[in-house]
Amino acid sequence: MISETLVDLSRFQFAMTAMYHFIFVPLTIGLAFLLAIMESVYVLTGKEVYKDMVLFWGKLFGINFAIGVATGLTMEFQFGTNWSYYSHYVGDVFGAPLAIEGLMAFFLESTFIGLFFFGWERLSKHQHLAVTWLVAIGSNLSALWILVANGWMQNPVGAEFNYETMRMEVTDFAALIFNPVAQVKFVHTVAAGYVTGSIFVLAISSWYLLKKRDLGFARRSFAIASAFGLASILSVIVLGDESGYEIGDVQKTKLAAIEAEWHTEKAPAAFTLVGLPNMETQSTDYAIKIPYAMGIMATRSLDTEVTGIKDLIAQHEVRIRNGMLAYERLQVLRGGDRSAENVALFDEVKQDLGYGLLLKKYTENIAEATEEQIKLAAADTIPHVPSIFWAFRFMVGAGFLMLLLFVLAFWASTKHNQEHKTWLLRFALLSLPLPWIGVQAGWYVAEVGRQPWSIGEVLPTFLSTSSLSSGDVLGSIITIAVIYTVLIIIEMFLMIRFARKGPSCLHTGRYHFEQNTTKKL
């Protein structure tokens, strides 16, 4: 049996490196678009200050992009190094979007980013603008394919298990791409990236305005960020991926965990605003509820029920029993007796094979699992409710705070009075961590909410690991943690240094630190 320590360590390493990588990704996605917008304004108006904006925010973008690229490699390596059974079991399906991401998006983004930084003298204005847009489009396409892959982990459509090769294989590639979970996730995630970029520009510009430096530069940056940010945060909230939670069993379970909905309630269900979900008693203590709200939010209707956790466990138990049968019949086929009759028998129950595999945590001999083991496996199908419940509320809370900020900021910038509203500028500056709190909490909900599966209803996480020793993985965790700590210290050091200098670091002679007195543009 696979050691639990190995599974926990492998999960810890993946979570650590993925969350770290996602510090930089949303900022890249958001800033790339903001740069393209700023440069478009430059080309349309011909005003140098917009070019300076592209150059300055582009410098910060570059600092962030470099570390994003470096840490992205870890993700690509890690499926093979630490999740080799996963890579074998679903590589036929999961590998394709990753490879296409490289061919279609990452090449585009990376080739043109070189020209973005180095091509100012070599390209015409319009060529350079095209290059910047291609970087932005490339980073968005990149997110699309990664989220197609991730969406498939949540809701594995368009694929089927093949007993001859012992793996999942593609049956319908279009279904994989147009997977509704992936589509909703894509819109939600890139819009969250735009919000991150906007808050970044807004907060730093507000700081210049508070310091009464480089006002023309900061005011224009503030205006673009507030307008783009407002549109983006509205997309994030309105197109929030809660609507995706109706689809597929794993998403239903996740929804029940988010809402700590222990019992199926009559539609439309009440929404638990806050409370303390308790896994042992299967109830939520001190719950404050808003009637009808959840039913409407989650199902977009008044009469669709949201299935509660206890009912889900009961359903899953049935599927586990079915899965035992599937596993037994698979053993016959793998043993070599591949008669048409045996294949038909397996096909009857093979959709529940994944549930059968859940028992591997407790016994090697799945077909003869005890009642107690079946109960344990059924209970395992529910992820950790309290942390998901709270992570979701942190995400939503951060989202609504940012909505408030962008509304106020956009209003102020249309009135051209933002630099006099010190409280607004301070609010913007203090909001700098909010998008990161939001996206990290959001991914926690999405990925911890997917447990115990690495591929929903198909492959349990604990079976997905490589056959490594725990010592190997512990060693790599420690090494990566040390390197990542050093890298982020260096990155933050440079980021803060250049943000403090502001556009003066462009050495144009036009900005604050290059003059003796503060000069307005």
């Binding site: 590589g91 061919l103 930084f117 090769t165």
Partner: protein, 379 residues
């Protein structure tokens, strides 16, 4: 659409193309950065080296990312077995590769000489390690890798990191290292002038000689000193795939069998040697384009030589011969190979066009004077 057998062959070629694409593009920036501390004596000279590759290294690195992605999609179990089996080697490559994006972007952002010198060494080491380890990994493929598959296709690996560092694999690592360093040096010959150009010429002469010696030595060792593998059961090229159903044995001439059976394949090692000689010649008579053509041919020839020798094996197993992975049985489903082929057929030509455009736009000699004239704009 193509039948399964044809698609398996196409993907074997395509993965080779991606690997060669990686070695031709990222190869020169790996090589140039390894050479940077030697070829660039002053800070400005080092920045000349960095700025020749500044606009391109990011795009170049995507060849590696895409090759790994294609490996995952086309040969999932090879990706799984090699990355998990070579765990610490892969981690070492990964840690080394962290240094490059940061080093390129951060090095010249501050004027502090200590800061710059630390990044220079990080960049150099970060390029040296992958160039060496890729060759070491390839070398180990010829010796067989100690892994086996069980009936559920779970991979177990019995070797360790130190086992990878055997004499033949280290020689293969040196082939890869000298080949990529030669390529870096010929690239610098094309894109620099004065002292930097002169030092690049000398480097090309030394390195291409070293490449020729190690390449030929590795070939002879493989020919006379290493037992190859062959599949002795009948392979169902078009059929369903189960690696465990075949019979493999270790025998001589093994890795040379393809060269006997298909003499046309001998072209690969010949191209490799001619390439090395052309690089040496180009450096000696100061024809930088000729030298670069030479190092490009050397890379293509070397990778093809290895691929042809192994064919149809991708990753032979030394402890359970039947677990050996070949390009017939370690592949994705017919459908996935088909879809991926369409994607590659559409995007690879587009990639080549815009990559070429970016090189044309940024072409020209990078001079010390340009660097000194723009202290804040470039790398």
């Amino acid at each position: 659409m193509f039948d399964y057998e044809t698609l398996k062959l196409i993907w074997w070629v395509l993965v080779g193309v991606l690997l060669i694409g990686f070695a031709l593009t990222d190869g020169f920036d790996l090589g140039a950065v390894i050479l940077m501390p030697l070829i660039g004596r002053t800070d400005s000279e080092r920045r000349v080296v960095l700025n020749t590759i500044g606009p391109h290294w990011e795009g170049n690195q995507v060849w590696l990312v895409t090759a790994a992605g294609a490996l995952f999609a086309a040969w999932p179990i090879v990706y799984a077995a090699s990355f998990s089996g070579f765990y610490w080697a892969m981690m070492l490559v990964l840690f080394a590769l962290f240094a490059r994006p940061l080093g390129f972007d951060y090095r010249s952002k501050l004027d502090n000489p200590n800061w710059r010198s630390r990044w220079d060494w990080a960049l150099c080491l970060g390029s040296f390690v992958p160039a060496l380890v890729f060759g070491v990994a390839f070398g180990n493929l010829f010796l067989g890798v100690p892994f086996m598959l069980d009936n559920t296709m779970r991979i177990s690996y019995t070797g360790n990191f130190w086992g990878l560092l055997n004499p033949f694999a280290i020689l293969a690592g040196l082939v890869s290292l000298t080949m990529l360093m030669t390529h870096g040096a010929t690239w610098l010959m094309m894109r620099t002038d004065k002292q930097v150009l002169q030092r690049s010429r000398t480097a090309t002469q030394i390195l291409s000689t070293a490449y020729l010696i190690t390449f030929i030595a590795a070939g002879l060792w493989l020919w006379f000193g290493i037992e190859g593998y062959s599949v002795i059961s009948v392979i169902d090229f078009n059929g369903a795939i189960d690696p465990l159903s075949k019979v493999v044995e270790q025998n001589n001439p093994g890795w040379m069998a393809n060269y006997t059976q298909y003499p046309i394949m001998r072209i690969a090692p010949i191209v490799g040697i001619i390439g090395g000689v052309l690089a040496l010649l180009g450096a000696t008579i100061n024809r930088s384009a000729l030298a670069f053509l030479g190092s490009s041919l050397a890379i293509s020839g070397t990778i093809c030589t290895a691929g042809f020798a192994l064919f149809p094996f991708l990753m032979p197993s030394s402890i359970d011969f039947a677990s050996s992975l070949t390009m017939w049985d370690a592949v994705s489903s017919h459908k996935t190979l088909g879809i991926m082929f369409i994607a590659a057929a559409i995007f690879v030509p587009i990639i080549l066009v815009y990559t070429l455009w970016s090189y044309i736009k940024m072409w020209g000699t990078v001079k010390v004077a340009d660097i000194d004239g723009d202290p804040h704009g470039l790398y």
